[in-house]
Structure formats: structure tokens, C-alpha cells
Amino acid sequence: MKSAPTQFDVKQSQGEGRVQVTRSFTLQSAVHSSGAVAYVFLLPSLVFLAVFTLWPIVSVIWSSFRARQGREQVFVALQNYERLFTDPIIQQVLKNTLFYVTAGVGFAVIGGLLLALLLNQGLRNIGFFRFPFLATIALPMVSVASIWLFLYSPRVGLFNEILAGLGLPLSNWLNGRELALPALFVVYLWKQLGYFALFYLAALQALPVDVLEAAKLDGITLWQQLRFIIWPLVSPTTYFVSTISVLGALQQIDHVFVLTTGGPNNATNMSLFYVYEQGFKYFNIGTASAMTVILLAVLMTMAILQFVYLERRVHYD
């Protein structure tokens, strides 16, 4: 098996997969007209959706109004939400989460597109260059974080060895207040950038060749090509990538566990880790549920926005 063409195929089918998703929405009206039969076919998925998605949502909303008293969970109305917003560390948690989300979107879109442009060059053996960037997607985050933990170690780690070799002052990385969050973010980005680039790569390969060739005949500069042709044409991908990068950044928890457990002094504590600690370390299920409900509201808003936007795109096509 030749490695380069295989990778190419994978990305092609990824790209097509996305197009199919958008088309299926337009098929909805057809499904409606066939009524009952359709629901029978949908039943298996509906059951799973109800049991594993809808019911937990209802249940988390329910428990967000309750708190533990002795062994019982009792109704406390909005007290959990009140506690959440008076918790002195919640501001730090939200600030850290916001940093992750905004930096995450920025790097995913700009970094992802630039990386995809590089990986889309018609070089011989391009697969060789693509592989390391895309391989990180397949690695489990816990292994990645464990490796980075050694790299960041202030006394026996590679990074400080390099700084020392260059005669530069050493850094405390994850153990210092200023660099802990950015250092954590670098790990996340290192792992996920290839994933975002993958979507852009698919989009770039689906670009109409004639438009680009016509533009080249007109003597367009690289910057103009990027700004006025590629950027607008990949805009559905940009929207998609920014959505999944927001979701991804909000969902980060495993490397926090391995690298910092939220420290030092909450410098790297983020929303999901906060939920975990409240729920399973302190057993404040109510507070954890309230935070989950808020996260859920944000995520659902994002999802609805994307749904509406994508549907509009399909009509404009």
C-alpha cells in the first residue's frame, strides 16, 4: 500500500462526508411526508438519543436545583447557581476557559489554514510531511500529556535543558503562575492543530481549479489569492472549524488532570475540571450540575447557530 494516495483518499472522503451532512438537512421535508415508516427507521437512534442524551440533560437540570443534605438530595431552588457565582474561584475558572476558547479558535482557524496551505503543496512525497502533523490526532491525550509533563519538568525536562544550553534563564513552565496556562494550551494545540488543518486540507482540495487558474492568469499575488479567493471559498469550513474548536476547547480536561490538576492556585482550572472537582471530589452534585447546565446552554447555542448558518449556506449554494 502506498501511503501518500491513501491519505489523500481519507481526506477526500472526509470532505464528501461533510457535504452529505449538509445535504441531509434538505432531505428532511421528504422524510416528513413519508411519516410513520420514517419514525420506525429512526426508532433505534431515537431510543439511544433519549437514553444517553436527552434523559441525562433532563436529569442534570433537575439535580442542579437540588443539594445534598446528609444522605438525601433536597430541593434548594436556585441556591446552587447562587453559590456558583459567589464562589471566589469561579472568575478565575471562567477567565481561563475564555482564554482557551478564544485562543483556541484563533489558532485553529489561522494556524489550521496556514498548516493546510503548507500541506497542500504539490511536493513529491507530501505524505511524508503530512504524517507528523496529522499523526497527533490519533494519539490519546493522556499519553501526549504524560510526555509533555517530562518535557516541561523544571529540573529534569528537555525545555529547560535547551534553555540552559543556550545560556538563557530557566522557566518554571507549568509550576509558575504566568506560563502554566499558555504551556497547557500549547499541548492542546500541538495535539489538535492537525485535526483542524485536516478540514481545511479537504476544503482546499475541493476548491474549483478553474477559478484559481483564471486568477493566476490575471497575475494575482499570493496574498490576494488567499484573501479574495481561498478565504471566502473556505468560509463554511472556517465556520465549522471555529465551532468544533470552541467545543473542543470547552471540553478539555484530560491534559489538565495529567499536567497540573488545575494548579498552581487555580491558574489552569477550567470549566470542565471545575465540574469534576465539585461533583466527584467534593460531592457537591448540585453545584456541578448547575455549572454543567450553563456549559450545556453555551454549547447548545453554538450548535443551533451552526445549524442555522449551515442551512443558510446550502440555500445560497
Partner: protein
């Protein structure tokens, strides 16, 4: 008539089947669910599973099913969830400091009746420091099992290298500073070996507070007592910070608990404070002579707090199962058994008889480091925070220590704010604080 006799025969058959199967099930062994965590490095789960296999082989009427439930936090979360859903395990190893939470949930039972039953346990044989976290309201709720206390580990080769006596670890804070300064190795501006590392962690800090004369919680049975902002508590944290910035024997910044053994093994620091539970893995991994000593004493002399997990028997499982759970616990804490566990794990065997019984007796003679923690128990006290909202107060204390280690706050600022936040939690948990 014939129809009736058929019915009659059927009824007889059904009843006899019920009787037979009922009789059979009465002879079935009781199966106990046993939750246990592993809190330190090493193949401890294998050791525990091995003991259970031996117990099951020697008991026809009781079969124990060991369930490894992750670290202490995950283990407690699973036990709590199981208690609240009405399907608790039968017996579990949980943190000794979880006692108040468990009693508050009515999740565990007091064990005094068992201790004085016809399957008795000599509870006075267990070390006082460990029992202090196992009793409340005059009753015993937990039987010490994987109990620890922090000790000083030091690199004897490094001591020899700088001209210190390798058999004399620092005994006071002043000596800690003095020895530490001698042990630091610099290469230009870069420190290639630090003198000492104490983790930015509540359990480590609590020892220094005790040495300065302030136990951070109640030494007795008061779950509402937290003393983070007293002059002695502040003095202890100020001392730790001075090791980083004034004396420069300890690296600046956060020092996570789990990274200390790696630094020590790599020779990046000459002394660390760590759990005695790390002894077995350090003995196996360090490429130099390993020394152990008491934690250096402060103005109030030697001092340490204890830690680790106890056996608990769950409520609401029925007397029969509770009896069986007691038989299991009593078998596990036999002197020779818990002594073997001490050797396998590095935890301090929590009862005096174990140290007078084989195999621990010979092991202690062979590996003198194993006895350091035991003798330090004379100066050891109840673990902090054995309070309402214990895990949260531990975390708040830890955050204060981290804020000081990273230079974000002064010890006063950090500890005063930690005290205020702890008070809020205590009041919320039903404490009445006079103030």
C-alpha cells in the same frame, strides 16, 4: 377430583422445589463487595488481590470480591454514589479523613460491638496517632490499614560528598537550612542540585505548622475547627517560602507532590519530604544510598501528621453481611498479615504487635529505613483536615500554599483568605463558629 389431585401434586412439587433451592441458597457463601483504592506508586493492587485470594481459600462461608476503584478521590466518589443510590459495597478502604462525611451520610457503622465481640480485636494495640482519625463521638468507625506519615528522605552520597555525616539528617529547621545550603550545587547561575524540596501541598504544609506549634485542625473530635491564620500557621508557611527566596535551597514556584520523587531519584534535589508509602519504590529506584529521618523540628519540636486509609463497614447491608465484613477485616489486620502489607507497600504497619511478629520483625532489622516512620509516630498527630467539607478545605489550603510558593500572595494574605473561605464552608455545612 383428578384435576384437584393434579393441582395438589403441582403445589407439592413447587413447594419442594422452593424448599430445596431455598435450603441450598442458605449454604451459599456470602459474597462481599470490597472497594479499595491505591494511593501511592507500586503494584499494591496485586498485593491486596493476593491477600483476598488467600482469605477466600481459607473461608468457605465468605467470599470477598475485591474491586479496585482508582485513586482515593475516585474511590470515595464511587462509594458515595453507591451509598446514595442505596447499593453500597459491604466493606471499603476509604480515607481516614472521610470519616465525618461518611458518618454524616449515615453510610458506615460503628465497630465497638465487633471489637468486643467473640471475634475480638485488640484496638489498643493500634498506634494512637492512627486511631485519632478513626474515632468520633467516643466510637471507633474505622480500622487502620494503609496508614502513612511523611518522613524526610535524603541522599547519603550527597551528604558524604559535601562533608556532612550521612547518618545524621537535619533535626531542626535551622539545620535544614544549614545542611541545605551545603548541599546546593551551582553551575554558574544554574542550580544543578537543590538542597531540599517540600511540596506545595496541604499535607506537607500541615507538618510544618505542627512543628511551629499550630495544628491546623482540631486534635480532638471537633469537625468545625480550622486554624489557618494563626501566627504559628503563618510562621510555618513563611519559613517554607524563605527556603525558596531567602535561603535559596529550594526551587521557586509550585512544587507538585508527585514530581518530588522524580527530582530526588534524578539527583536534582538532595532531600525531600514524602509519604512513607513511597519508601518501597524509592528503595528500588534510587541509584544512591537512601537515608530517612524524622521531619526536622521547629520551635515546637518534632511534629508530623498522619494520613492514609481505614477499613469501614457499610450501613444498610444487613447484619449477616456486616458480620462477614468484620471477619474479613479482622483477618486482614492480623499482625503477621498487616506486617506483610507493610513490607509490600511501605505503609507503616499500624499496630505494635505487627512489628514484633514475622515477617515484619526481620524486615525491620534488615531495612532500618522502614522503622523511621514508626518511631516518628510518637510525635505524630491527627491528620488535617478531619473536618466538615474536608476535601474542599484541603484544596483551599493547598491553593494558599501554591499562591505563596509562586510568589502571588504573602503567607498572611493567602492564609487569611483561606481561613475566610474555610469558615464559609464550615458554616454552610452546619457549624456554628464563634467569632
Amino acid at each position: 377430583m383428578s384435576k384437584d389431585s393434579v393441582m395438589y401434586k403441582l403445589v407439592v412439587i413447587v413447594i419442594s422445589i422452593l424448599l430445596v433451592t431455598g435450603g441450598a441458597s442458605a449454604q451459599e457463601p456470602i459474597t462481599l463487595q470490597f472497594f479499595y483504592p491505591v494511593g501511592v506508586a507500586g503494584p499494591l493492587a496485586q498485593a491486596i488481590d493476593g491477600y483476598v485470594v488467600e482469605f477466600n481459600a481459607t473461608h468457605d462461608d465468605i467470599q470477598v470480591e475485591p474491586i479496585f476503584t482508582g485513586n482515593y478521590t475516585e474511590n470515595m466518589a464511587r462509594a458515595q454514589a453507591a451509598i446514595m443510590s442505596g447499593q453500597p459495597p459491604d466493606v471499603a478502604i476509604l480515607l481516614s479523613t472521610d470519616l465525618y462525611t461518611l458518618v454524616d451520610m449515615e453510610g458506615v457503622i460503628p465497630l465497638d460491638d465487633y471489637i468486643n465481640s467473640d471475634e475480638p480485636l485488640d484496638i489498643d494495640d493500634f498506634f494512637d496517632a492512627f486511631m485519632s482519625n478513626s474515632t468520633s463521638a467516643g466510637q471507633v468507625w474505622g480500622i487502620p490499614w494503609q496508614r502513612s506519615t511523611p518522613i524526610l528522605y535524603y541522599n547519603k552520597d550527597a551528604f558524604i560528598e559535601v562533608g556532612l555525616d550521612p547518618e545524621t539528617p537535619p533535626a531542626t529547621w535551622d539545620e535544614l537550612v544549614e545542611f541545605g545550603k551545603q548541599l546546593v550545587v551551582r553551575d554558574g547561575d544554574k542550580v544543578t542540585r537543590w538542597g531540599f524540596e517540600a511540596a506545595a501541598q496541604f499535607w506537607t504544609y500541615a507538618n510544618f505548622a505542627i512543628q511551629a506549634g499550630q495544628h491546623l485542625g482540631s486534635l480532638g473530635d471537633d469537625p468545625c475547627a480550622v486554624y489557618l491564620d494563626t501566627p504559628e500557621a503563618i510562621e510555618a508557611l513563611t519559613f517554607l517560602r524563605s527556603l525558596q527566596v531567602e535561603h535559596e535551597i529550594m526551587p521557586d514556584g509550585d512544587l507538585p507532590w508527585r514530581t518530588l520523587p522524580a527530582d530526588f531519584i534524578a539527583g536534582a534535589t538532595a532531600m525531600i519530604i514524602h509519604s512513607t508509602g513511597s519508601l518501597s519504590s524509592l528503595l528500588a529506584d534510587v541509584p544512591f544510598e537512601l537515608g530517612t529521618g524524622f521531619l526536622p523540628g521547629g520551635s515546637a519540636g518534632y511534629g508530623a501528621n498522619v494520613g492514609g486509609g481505614n477499613f469501614y463497614i457499610m450501613a444498610d447491608i444487613g447484619e449477616e453481611r456486616q458480620d462477614a465484613a468484620w471477619t474479613f477485616i479482622n483477618w486482614m489486620v492480623r499482625p503477621e498479615q498487616i506486617g506483610q502489607w507493610g513490607i509490600d507497600s511501605g505503609y507503616v504497619a499500624p499496630r505494635a504487635a505487627a512489628w514484633e511478629t514475622e515477617p515484619l520483625k526481620s524486615y525491620a532489622a534488615e531495612v532500618p529505613q522502614a522503622s523511621t516512620a514508626r518511631f516518628q509516630l510518637e510525635y505524630a498527630v491527627k491528620e488535617f483536615p478531619a473536618t466538615i467539607a474536608g476535601p474542599e478545605i484541603a484544596q483551599i489550603t493547598q491553593q494558599a500554599v501554591q499562591a505563596v510558593y509562586t510568589g502571588q500572595l504573602t503567607p498572611e494574605e493567602a492564609l487569611q483568605s483561606a481561613q475566610e473561605r474555610s469558615n464559609e464552608l464550615l458554616v454552610r455545612g452546619g457549624c456554628e463558629l464563634d467569632d
